[in-house]
Amino acid sequence: MPVLLEAHAVCKYFGGLKAVEKVDMQVMEGDIHGIIGPNGAGKTTFFNICSGVYKPTSGAITFQGEDITRLTPEVIARKGMARTFQNIKLFKYMTVLENVKIGFHIRTRTGMASAIFRNACYREDEQFTERKGMEILERVGLAEVRDTLASNLPYGLQRKVEIARALALDPRILLLDEPVAGMNPIETRQLSEFILKLKGDGYTIVVIEHDMKFVMGTCDRVLVLNFGQKICEGTPDQVRQDPGVNEAYFGKGLVAGGGAA
């Protein structure tokens, strides 16, 4: 399988703080790639570099074989990368359907003139966003709440709206920043199933998550960060047995099966 998204020795320094230090990553097409690590490990910073929100201090990101390191988020979005945010960034005062409709921005063409004269382009685009928007909402299971203001939805559903909005871009790759944060175990399992379904539909997914059960059950490959550095990358099983990972999460000595017991 070809590599879809690749990070080469990416560094990001905020003054003296090395938030991300020489991280490499290879996301294969069709995989669900997990990124885990303790709080403050630099996961979200790394995500922001991948999606163009931050420019790395050094290193490069390639997407579909093309260097996207210096591109703006909107250009990267056009190239087929969609993302969600850790602190949900919905358009709070718009309805669910309107939120999803904005996701169709790059797939529609209506400009000022088309809008004023309501020509064929405008009508096609409005029908397209309406129809496709409802299709996505039905797929995600949000069809009943289409006219609800996004901010009035419970947390778990808001996360789903954000994913639905990202899907509207019809992306090649989907970056999810802690999608199950704040969800109960049932919601977590449902979302896990949904993400596996998306994988079945041919999406490549990169996901930051704290929930280990979720990561181990869903991801094909996992990247572990700690203090901005990559300490391990591999299948969930490899990661589980990696001494460095255990050390980062549980501390030294006790889990290695040596001393204490």
């Binding site: 909107e74 979005a77 056009r78 358009f91 309805t95 359907l97 921005h105 790059i106 209506t110 000022m112």
Partner: protein, 339 residues
């Protein structure tokens, strides 16, 4: 279902809306025939003109969430452009009008460049500065603009051989422009372009992540607002026959802004309501002259407390978010009874 503009009442959509607006338009069309008093016509002309100015400012402040307080600058560009086109080149009003708008839009493009980096109060200061630069240009470029003496005797527009010189005739010009503005703007804000503007207002980072070219749409937004302010200025110049730089001071910019705030940002109808209320108050409060400024100020302060989104503003928008503070303190706990 189409994209519903925030704040639009459910009963005022589709056919009801079309019928209601047609009746209103019919009434406005007949009004000069029923009540052709020159004073009332003058007030109506002002209301229509301000409806365009406030509406176009609302596109910038209310829809894309930028903070422009120098709208008088674009108004000034339009007025001077029309006057100079008409007097120096002898261009017809009907040609000078769109050209003045285009010129104002180009200035709007220049002013919008800082929006790529600045927002909120910092952007406001830039727009304020731009507005003053335009006024100072008009004041000091005596060869072109006549300096502090302004431009006198701006020719009246001709309409199929009919010279338009009195208020009841101008009434129709301003009414036509206002209706055109709201018709066009209604279509723009309820399209992909309008959605992109609103997404920038609600959350710029999220808009970018969805591929909305925020820089381009903010520039487009400023140009659109400036274009219509320029058109309003171009209609104003021959109506008033005389323009001078002091008509386009910062006070004028604040005046337009206060109408938008009082009426309500982020809806189409809000700025119209603001323009009607403030112009009406101006007429009613003429006897107390300068003290009416105090009343405006109190009105705006009160508005910010009670209804930050304006009288008919969008209650379902980020503009309506109330900050906790003086007015909305937590209820005081009952004092403990003395021991």
């Amino acid at each position: 279902m189409t994209f519903t503009a925030p704040g639009r009442a459910p009963w005022f959509q589709g056919r009801n809306r079309a019928i209601g607006l047609s009746l209103l338009l019919l009434l406005l069309l007949c009004f000069p025939q029923i009540y052709p008093k020159s004073y009332v016509m003058g007030v109506m002309c002002r209301i229509f003109m301000y409806a365009i100015l406030t509406g176009s400012l609302n596109i910038i402040n209310g829809y894309s969430g930028q903070f422009n307080i120098g709208h008088a600058g674009f108004f000034c560009v339009g007025a001077y452009a029309e006057a100079l086109f008409a007097m120096k080149i002898g261009l017809s009003f009907w040609l000078a009008l769109p050209l003045a708008g285009v010129l104002a839009a180009l200035i709007g493009l220049v002013v919008s460049l800082p929006t790529l980096r600045l927002r909120g109060i910092y952007l406001a200061i830039v727009t304020l500065g731009a507005s003053e630069i335009i006024r100072l240009l008009a004041l000091n470029w005596e060869g072109l603009t006549g300096g502090p003496m302004g431009i006198k005797g701006i020719p009246s527009p001709m309409f199929f051989g009919l010279k338009i010189s009195r208020s009841p005739q101008y009434y129709y010009i301003f009414l036509f422009l206002a209706v055109l503005f709201y018709l066009v703007t209604d279509r723009v804000v309820n399209s992909r372009v309008g959605r992109a503007w609103v997404s920038i207002r609600e959350d710029e980072a999220a808009a970018q992540s969805l591929g909305v070219e925020t820089a381009r749409y903010k520039a487009m937004n400023f140009m659109y607002g400036a274009f219509w302010a320029g058109v309003a200025g171009a209609a104003f110049a021959p109506y008033f026959k005389f323009i001078s730089p002091d008509m386009f001071s910062l006070d004028e910019g604040f005046n337009i802004l206060s109408m938008v705030i009082i009426g309500g940002q982020g809806t189409l109808v809000g700025p119209v309501v603001g323009a009607v209320i403030v112009n009406f108050l101006t007429e009613v409060l003429r006897p107390v002259s300068q003290y009416r400024m105090v009343i405006y100020a109190l009105l705006i302060i009160g508005m910010m407390w009670v209804r930050p989104q304006g009288l008919v503003g969008a209650s379902n928008s980020i503009l309506a978010e109330k900050k906790a503070g003086f007015w909305r303190r937590k209820p005081r706990r009952p004092a403990a009874k003395g021991a």
